[in-house]
C-alpha cells in the first residue's frame, strides 16, 4: 500500500497523519522550515513496518529540525510490534503516547483492537502492567492478546519515555 502523509501545521504543533507501508519506498515528508512546537505523528494507518523503512525513518528524524518532543499517537499494531522488536525505532526524543493493542477471539476468529493510553499504564521504568482484557463483540468470549504477552510494551523499558 502506497505510503501517504498529511501534514497540518498548527499554532503550537505540527501534526502528521501517516498511512500505508513504512518500508524503503515510503517518502517521508520534507518540511521547508523547522518544526514549531511538538511534532505529533498519528500512526493509526501504518499497516506494515520493515527494517529498511525504520532505517529511513531514523534518518528522517535526523534531518527534521525538531525543537521539542516527537509524540507518536494511535500507533497501529504493526508499529507497536516492530517498536518492541527493532531497537532504535524510538529515539531519545520520541515517545509513544497511545497504541492500538491487537486481540483475537479463539472462539469465533474475530480480530479487534483496543486503544491504550500509555501515560495511564504506570511507571514506564518498572512497567508491570498487564494488557487490558477485552470481550469479543461478536460472541462475548474473552479475547486473547495478539502479541507475546511478556513483550507487551517492551519498548517502554527500552526507551523509558518521560511523562508530563
Amino acid at each position: 500500500m502506497k505510503f501517504k502523509a498529511l501534514v497540518k501545521i498548527e499554532k503550537d504543533r505540527t501534526v502528521m497523519v501517516l498511512e500505508g507501508w513504512l518500508d524503503e519506498r515510503a517518502e517521508l515528508p520534507e518540511l521547508d522550515e523547522p518544526v514549531k512546537g511538538d511534532l505529533v505523528l498519528d500512526l493509526k494507518g501504518i499497516t506494515l513496518v520493515n527494517s529498511l523503512g525504520v532505517r529511513n525513518w531514523i534518518q528522517w528524524f535526523k534531518v527534521l529540525k525538531v525543537q521539542r518532543d516527537v509524540k507518536l499517537i494511535h500507533c497501529s499494531p504493526a508499529v507497536l510490534k516492530q517498536a518492541n522488536t527493532l531497537q532504535g525505532f524510538l529515539s531519545d526524543r520520541t515517545k509513544i503516547e497511545s497504541v492500538f493493542v491487537p486481540y483475537f477471539c479463539e472462539d469465533c476468529g474475530r480480530e479487534d483492537q483496543l486503544l491504550v493510553n500509555i501515560a495511564k499504564v504506570g511507571d514506564p521504568v518498572h512497567i508491570t502492567a498487564a494488557p487490558p482484557e477485552l470481550k469479543c463483540s461478536s460472541c462475548g468470549m474473552k479475547m486473547e492478546l495478539d502479541l507475546i504477552e511478556s513483550q507487551y510494551l517492551t519498548f517502554m523499558q527500552k526507551h523509558k519515555p518521560k511523562f508530563s
Binding site: 524503503e24 527494517s51 532505517r55 531514523i58 516492530q82 532504535g88
Partner: protein, 323 residues
C-alpha cells in the same frame, strides 16, 4: 551446487575460551540433571538436540571462508582463518586435486589471515588461482608472505600462484561456475559475487552494511541479489547495533530479510558474526530476527502480499547447504 561455510566469524578469529566452555558444560549438565529427575525417557543425544545451539557448540570462531562446489569444480571465497580447515580437508579427501580457485572479496585481515596456512600454496605441481577486482591483488598477497610477518617469502609460493584481475560486473568462468563481481557497501571497497551454475545461483554478500537497498540505489549492483537461490549475508550486528555503527560496513538480520523478500531470494544464511559477541548473544540476535520475520510475514499477509517467505538461519561453521 553446494555451499560450505568454513569460517563464519567477522573481523577476528574467536575461539571459545576454556572458562566459557566450562560454563556451557555446567549449564548443560544442570539441565540434564533436572531432566533426569522428571524420569524423562530422552537419552543424552536426544536431550542435546533440544538445546539452543549456543549451548551445544555455538556458531564457530574462524573468520570468513566459503566453498562453492559443483560435481566437477570448486570455488573458494576468501581466505579467512576458516581456510585452514578447508586445506586440511582437501589434503585428506582430494589429494590429487591440482587446481584451486580463490576469489578475494577484499583484503581486510579477517579475509586473508588463513592464506599462509593453505597447504597447496607450498606444493610443487599445484596451481592456486587468485581472482579479485582490486588492482593491488598481488601486492596484498605479497604482504602476507614477507618477513617478519611470516617466515616463508612470496617467491617460494609464486610458482604455484596465478593472478587474475577481473572486471566489476563482468562474469568470468571457473569451470562450470560463472562468477560475477558486484560491489557491496563496505570500506576499501568490497566486491561480493554472484556465482551461478546449472540454473542455480548464490549471492555472496559479505562484507556489507547494506546501505543501498532500494533498486534505484543499487543500480548496477541489483543483479547480485535478484532471485538468487541462496544469499550469504552479513549480520555482524543486531539491528540496533548496526544503527549505532554507521559506516562500519556491516549489517543485521532484518535488513537481509527485507532485501531477500523484495528480490525473490529463496534462502538466506547470515554470517560474519561479531567476534566480541558470545554464542548466546548471537543466538539472541537470531531469536530477535525470528520475531521480526514472524511479525513482518503477518503484516505482509494482511496487506495481501505473497505469503511466500524466505528460508533463513544464522550460519554455523562447517555447515553445508545443498542447492
Amino acid at each position: 551446487m553446494r555451499v560450505k561455510l568454513w569460517g563464519v566469524r567477522g573481523s577476528l578469529p574467536s575461539p571459545v575460551a576454556p572458562g566459557r566452555l566450562r560454563g556451557h558444560l555446567e549449564e548443560v549438565l544442570k539441565q540434564f540433571e533436572a531432566l533426569k529427575k522428571t524420569n524423562s525417557p530422552l537419552n543424552a543425544s536426544q536431550f542435546l538436540d533440544l538445546l539452543p545451539s549456543h549451548l551445544t557448540g555455538g556458531y564457530g570462531g574462524n573468520t570468513s571462508c566459503g566453498e562453492i562446489t559443483t560435481a566437477s569444480h570448486r570455488l573458494i571465497i576468501d581466505g579467512g582463518s576458516g581456510i585452514r580447515s578447508l586445506s586440511d580437508h582437501l589434503t585428506l579427501n582430494d589429494p590429487h586435486c591440482k587446481e584451486f580457485h580463490i576469489y578475494l572479496t577484499h583484503f581486510h585481515w579477517d579475509h586473508l589471515i588463513g592464506l599462509p596456512f593453505f597447504v597447496p600454496l607450498y606444493m610443487k605441481g599445484k596451481s592456486v588461482h587468485f581472482y579479485g577486482v582490486h588492482e593491488d591483488l598481488e601486492e596484498a598477497l605479497q604482504i602476507l608472505f614477507r618477513k617478519p610477518q611470516f617466515p616463508v617469502p612470496y617467491k617460494v609460493i609464486s610458482p604455484q600462484i596465478h593472478i587474475h584481475k577481473v572486471k566489476p560486473r563482468e562474469p568470468f568462468k571457473v569451470g562450470d561456475l560463472s562468477v560475477t563481481p558486484y560491489q557491496l557497501d563496505h570500506p576499501d571497497p568490497c566486491w561480493g559475487a554472484r556465482v551461478e551454475s546449472n540454473g542455480k545461483s548464490v549471492a555472496w554478500c559479505v562484507d556489507t552494511e547494506g546501505i543501498r537497498t532500494s533498486p534505484e540505489e543499487l543500480g548496477p549492483d541489483l543483479p547480485l541479489y535478484q532471485n538468487a537461490d541462496l544469499m550469504v549475508f552479513d549480520a555482524q550486528y543486531s539491528f540496533g547495533e548496526a544503527l549505532e555503527k554507521i559506516n562500519w560496513g556491516h549489517s543485521s538480520g532484518p535488513i537481509g530479510i527485507d532485501l531477500a523478500l523484495r528480490e525473490g531470494i529463496k534462502q538466506v544464511v547470515f554470517m560474519h558474526h561479531d567476534p566480541s559477541a558470545s554464542d548466546q548473544s548471537i543466538w539472541d540476535g537470531e531469536q530477535q530476527t525470528k520475531q521480526y520475520y514472524s511479525e513482518l510475514m503477518r503484516s505482509r499477509q494482511r496487506a495481501g502480499l505473497s505469503g511466500e517467505g524466505v528460508l533463513w538461519h544464522f550460519g554455523v561453521e562447517g555447515e553445508s547447504i545443498a542447492l
